[in-house]
């Protein structure tokens, strides 16, 4: 055997084997480092980088304070949740004592139990502690105790305009009121920070792949609600309800020349700072926009406006009031049976004559209630006054109310005769106040709003222009006639309540309530309403007021509007004339 050959062969084999192994390594490394570069680079980045959400600050809410200033109703404040990992707590008793001393009433129930339980890794000790308390706790250097910061809403004016505002729940979502209706505007948009971090998770400014998208804070909204008007209205409503031993009532005050709401109040109300303590959830709802009802005789103003605008009646048109009128199989009666005889259209307001309102409907049909009369009234209610549809006001839970069309079986003559004086249909107060504003201002329907504009960082305001929904609701001359009729009627029917020298007008309303046991209207209880305006002439209305008292305890339920709602309206009206600096006529 040739040994040298053999030796040479082994060496060569070894070399070849090593080359092969080397080639495998090279190929594998090429595969990992070149072909799979992107994948492993990505995996490495995942290990090194962390994502942080940069929270957006929720928008603040302001109210008007007089004509030029704004004042905060809802602000944000930093608060802290105190937690512990009991495994690292060295002295539970000392920790508990320190917490009680610093956090006081903010500690959670039985937090001591959580501190003692070494099986837990996380237990909450206190919630919503202030910055000062947090600083004191930091200084105490309690082992195993940490804090997490979050914003919370604070209400410097307490429960003022609570239902208009709503509240923000524990998940940071707006609930009820404007907080829910404009949640996306108020919430803003959180930002994102994607960065290389150290072992403690602190972002480092190394690496070219850091991503930072700044958070966009929510918009700061300025309400059209004036805090002084709101405050007075809430107090007037409370005093008015106390006088008639009622518990439920609502008021809206609106600027008829812009559709901007100056005040909106409901009782009972709630404290938005302690919303979680509220057991009656209906108190969260803004009944002015979410609770449609049969408004009663205040609707006569709208029926009369339709009749006047159509030329079916004039202010001096008379009819023979017999105290009742037969429509189909139903007899419609007046509350006042002592004013029978020939009456004109102004007296229909003065004595609140149901028969007079039915007379207007008959005239719309050429003397009888027919399909044409029903269609015309329906056209005015839905096409001119925008009843039966949501107004779009920036409040959660708005209802559109209900108007039965005349082409439905239920939209018969009896229903439409009832609708002329506000029964058999349902409206929200904001619908009625907005339509009434359109009638008295000469025929321009402004979309009702609670938003006056947006607050800028320098404390100024960018005002939102009023939104016109429709023009030509009624003719301006008809508006003046209607205003004069209501002004005269108020002067004759409600005496001594108004401040002398001003032009105050309006209409009371008393709506019967359906007894749930019998399914028929009952005289035992009624909802009292008042709808009016004030200014110094029939062309310069400065405010519209609508009041509703739901459960007045008055001697005669049939006059609930006069007895319960009208005095509240008069109280607010007299104060507003001074507050708005309205000069006498």
């Amino acid at each position: 055997m040739n040994l040298s050959l053999l030796r040479q062969s082994r060496s060569r084999t070894l070399v070849l084997a090593m080359c092969a192994i080397g080639a495998i390594f090279v190929v594998r490394l090429f595969y990992l480092q070149v072909i799979q570069h992107g994948y492993y680079d990505n995996e490495a980045m995942k290990e090194h980088t962390s994502k942080f959400t940069l929270p957006a600050q929720r928008g603040e809410i302001y109210a008007k304070d007089g004509s030029d200033n704004i004042t905060p109703l809802v602000l944000n404040e930093a608060s802290y949740t105190v937690y512990a990992d009991p495994r690292y707590v060295t002295d539970a008793n000392k920790t508990a004592d320190t917490l009680r001393r610093i956090a006081g009433g903010n500690v959670v129930d039985n937090f001591e139990g959580g501190l003692q339980n070494k099986n837990l890794q996380y237990t909450v000790l206190a919630r919503q502690i202030s910055q000062q308390q947090a600083d004191l706790l930091n200084a105490a250097q309690l082992p195993g105790v940490g804090m997490q910061e979050q914003d919370r809403r604070v209400y410097p004016e307490g429960s003022l305009a609570a239902q208009v505002l709503g509240y923000v729940n524990g998940d940071g979502q707006g609930q009820y009121g404007i907080e829910q209706a404009m949640d996306s505007d108020l919430a803003g948009k959180p930002g994102l920070l994607k960065a290389v971090t150290d072992v403690r998770g602190i972002p480092l400014s190394v690496g070219g792949n850091n991503v930072q998208e700044s958070a966009q804070d929510g918009k700061n909204i300025v309400l059209s609600v004036d805090r002084n008007v709101q405050n007075y209205v809430e107090q007037a409503l409370k005093d008015g309800l106390d006088k008639v031993h009622a518990k439920h009532g609502s008021v809206i005050v609106m600027d008829p020349t812009t559709g901007k709401v100056m005040a909106m109040a409901n009782l009972p109300t709630f404290d938005p700072d302690k919303y979680y303590e509220q057991s009656d959830y209906t108190a969260f709802q803004n009944a002015v926009v979410s609770d449609p009802y049969e408004a009663g005789s205040v609707i006569k103003a709208f029926t009369m406006a339709a009749g006047l605008n159509e030329g079916a009646v004039k202010p001096d048109t008379t009819y023979n009031n017999t105290g009742s009128v037969q429509v189909g199989d139903a007899t419609i009666r007046n509350v006042l049976q002592t004013v029978n005889g020939t009456r004109n259209m102004m007296e229909v307001f003065e004595y609140s004559l149901n028969t007079g309102a039915v007379f207007v409907l008959q005239q719309l049909g050429g003397g009888t209630i027919d399909a044409q009369a029903r269609q015309k009234l329906f056209g005015y209610f839905t096409g001119h006054y925008m009843f039966g549809q949501k107004t779009g006001i920036e409040q959660a839970g708005e209802s559109g109310g209900e108007i039965i069309p005349p082409d439905q079986a239920e939209g018969n003559d009896v229903r439409y005769a009832n609708m002329t004086f506000g029964q058999g249909m349902s409206n929200t107060m904001v619908q009625i106040a907005s339509a009434f504003s359109a009638m008295i201002n000469g025929g321009t329907y402004y979309k009702p709003t609670v938003v006056d504009g947006y607050a800028n960082s320098d404390g100024t305001e960018t005002t939102k222009a009023p939104q016109i929904g429709k023009t030509g609701i009624i003719r301006p001359d008809i508006a003046r006639e209607l205003n004069d009729m209501m002004h005269t009627a108020r002067g004759l029917s409600i005496r001594g309540q108004d401040k002398p020298g001003y032009y105050v007008a309006g209409k009371t309303g008393t709506a019967q309530v359906i007894d749930p046991k019998t399914g028929a209207y009952t005289d035992k209880n009624a909802i009292g309403s008042y709808l009016g305006f004030g200014g110094n002439s029939n062309t310069t209305p400065r405010y519209v007021i609508m009041v509703r008292v739901t459960d007045a305890q008055v001697s005669d339920a049939a006059t609930a509007g006069n007895a319960s709602a009208a005095p509240i309206s008069a109280n607010i009206s007299n104060w507003l004339l001074d507050y708005l600096h309205v000069s006498p006529k």
């Binding site: 004042t71 905060p72 602000l75 944000n76 404040e77 930093a78 202030s130 910055q131 604070v154 410097p156 004016e157 307490g158 003022l160 150290d198 602190i202 972002p203 480092l204 400014s205 190394v206 805090r227 002084n228 405050n231 001074d578 000069s583 006498p584």
Partner: protein, 122 residues
Amino acid sequence: MSSSTTLTINMQQPLTGRTAQTWRRNQNTVRYQLTSGLGPISHTVLIAVMLCILGLIYLTQITKTSAYGYQINDLKNKQQKLVDQKRDLEVESARLQALERVKNSDVAKAMTTPTETDYAQN
């Protein structure tokens, strides 16, 4: 490191310029030329040292950048704390100016309702 000295004997090298003027004809001239160079080991060591220096410079810069990161983080925390303090003060200010507080102030309680109001005519 190593060095070497080379002795160069230049026979009958044509001379030009001022040197030519001082040298005589047929004179042998001798010139010493010092050629100093680095060997392969020195080269390697030098390159290693330079790489180390470059590495150190790189590390210093990276550490500096990291330190800036901590500084930025620290400043951001301070900024956030000041923003929180500002908000707290705004809340306190709003609470002090709240309507209920103003109504119950001594100044407000001392106010009286005017008996008569006159309006200026334009």
